[in-house]
C-alpha cells in the first residue's frame, strides 16, 4: 500500500516538472513585485504558502500594500479564488474512498496547474479498462503534482524577494511590468472562442474608466459587469441558435 502510494507520488512528480519550470519565473516575479510593493519577507512567504494562488495574490498586492479597505482586499481575493471551486469539484470523484481529513489537507494544494495535470491523467486512466479505480492512488498522484509545485512556488517567492533587494534603482518600470506582462501572456495562450477575447478587451479598457470613477471598487465592478454581459450575450446566442 505504502509502496504503491510512493510509486504514484513519483509519477505525479514526474508529470509536474513542466509546472515547476513555469512556476520558477512566475513565483520569483511575484516575490519581486511583492518586495517592490513594500511587503515584508514573512508576509510574502506566508501569503504564498497560506493563500497559494498566483492571480489571487497578485490581485490583492496593490490594495494590500496601499492599506486599502480590508473588505475590498478580501472580496478581490475571494473572487479571484472562486475559480478553485469547479476545479476542486471536478477532482473530487477521483478520490473515492479517501478519508475526509487527508482529502481536506490535500485540497490546499489545488491550483490551476495542479488541477489540469492530474485531471487529464485520471481521465486517461479511466478510459483504460485495466486501470485501478483507487482513490488513494489518485490522491498520491495528485499530491506528487500539487505538493512539489507548491514547494517550488513558496521557495521561488522567497528567492524573488531576495533578488529584488539586489536590483539597482530605476528598475521600477521593469518590476511593474513583470506580472501584468506574464498574466497577459497566460491569458492569450489560454483564451479560446469569440467571447473570451471580447471580455478581456472590454474589461481591460473598462477598468481604466472604473478606476477613474472609483479607484477601490470601480475596476472590480467593471470586471464583473463586462464578464456577466459577455456571458449573457453568449447564453442568449446559444439559446437562440438552439431554438432555430
Amino acid at each position: 500500500m505504502v509502496m504503491f502510494f510512493a510509486v504514484r507520488f513519483r509519477q505525479g512528480m514526474k508529470a509536474a516538472i513542466p509546472i515547476w519550470i513555469a512556476f520558477i519565473p512566475s513565483s520569483i516575479a511575484w516575490g519581486i513585485a511583492a518586495q517592490n510593493h513594500g511587503l515584508s519577507l514573512d508576509e510574502v512567504v506566508l501569503m504564498s504558502a497560506w493563500v497559494y494562488s498566483g492571480p489571487g495574490q497578485f490581485a490583492v498586492l496593490g490594495p494590500l500594500a496601499e492599506s486599502k479597505s480590508t473588505l475590498q482586499v478580501l472580496i478581490a481575493g475571494f473572487l479571484m479564488n472562486l475559480r478553485f471551486l469547479p476545479m476542486s469539484t471536478a477532482l473530487a470523484p477521483f478520490f473515492r474512498g479517501v478519508k475526509r481529513v487527508p482529502l481536506l489537507l490535500s485540497s490546499h494544494v489545488i491550483s490551476a496547474s495542479s488541477f489540469i495535470v492530474p485531471y487529464l491523467q485520471f481521465q486517461k486512466e479511466k478510459e483504460m479498462a485495466s486501470a485501478p479505480d483507487d482513490g488513494y492512488g489518485n490522491l498520491a498522484f495528485f499530491l506528487g503534482v500539487g505538493v512539489t509545485s507548491f514547494l517550488v512556488w513558496v521557495t521561488g517567492t522567497a528567492a524573488g524577494f531576495g533578488v529584488a533587494l539586489g536590483f539597482p534603482p530605476g528598475f521600477e518600470e521593469v518590476l511593474r511590468f513583470i506580472l501584468p506582462g506574464y498574466f497577459a501572456g497566460l491569458l492569450v495562450v489560454e483564451v479560446k472562442g469569440w467571447a473570451m477575447p471580447l471580455i478581456c478587451l472590454g474589461s481591460l479598457t473598462a477598468a481604466v474608466a472604473g478606476a477613474w470613477i472609483s479607484p477601490g471598487w470601480g475596476w472590480l465592478a467593471t470586471a464583473i459587469f463586462v464578464a456577466t454581459l459577455g456571458w449573457g450575450v453568449e447564453e442568449w446566442n446559444s439559446r437562440a441558435s438552439k431554438s432555430f
Binding site: W50, G77, P86, L201, P215
Partner: protein, 106 residues
C-alpha cells in the same frame, strides 16, 4: 473594522481554503451547471484583465498618460510574442525588454 496585513492574509487564506475544500465535502460526485462554470471562468479572466490594466495604466484614480504609450506597446508585444510562441514567459521577457529600452530612451 480594519485588520493588519498578516491578519488579512490569514483570513484570505482561510477563504481560499474554504473554496478549495468545500467542494470535496459538498459536491463529491456532482458537477456544476455548465453556464455557472463558464460565468465563473469569465469573471476570473475579466478580473485578471482589469488588474493588468490598472497596474499598468493607473495610480489610484489618475491615468498615467506619460507612461501609458510605452507600457501599452510593451503589453501588445508581450501578447503578440506569447500568442506566437505559446509561452507566457517568453512574451513577458519580450515585453520587459521593450519596456526597459523605451524607459531608458525616455
Amino acid at each position: 473594522m480594519e485588520f493588519s496585513r498578516i491578519q488579512i492574509i490569514l483570513i484570505m487564506g482561510l477563504m481560499a481554503f474554504a473554496v478549495r475544500a468545500l467542494p470535496q465535502i459538498l459536491f463529491v460526485g456532482g458537477k456544476f451547471p455548465e453556464a455557472l462554470d463558464r460565468w465563473l471562468r469569465y469573471v476570473s479572466y475579466a478580473l485578471i484583465c482589469s488588474i493588468i490594466s490598472i497596474t499598468l495604466f493607473m495610480v489610484g484614480a489618475r491615468f498615467e498618460a506619460d507612461a501609458a504609450p510605452r507600457r501599452g506597446l510593451a503589453l501588445a508585444l508581450a501578447i503578440f510574442i506569447a500568442h506566437r510562441t505559446k509561452s507566457a514567459v517568453t512574451g513577458m521577457i519580450a515585453g520587459v525588454l521593450l519596456v526597459l529600452i523605451l524607459s531608458w530612451l525616455h
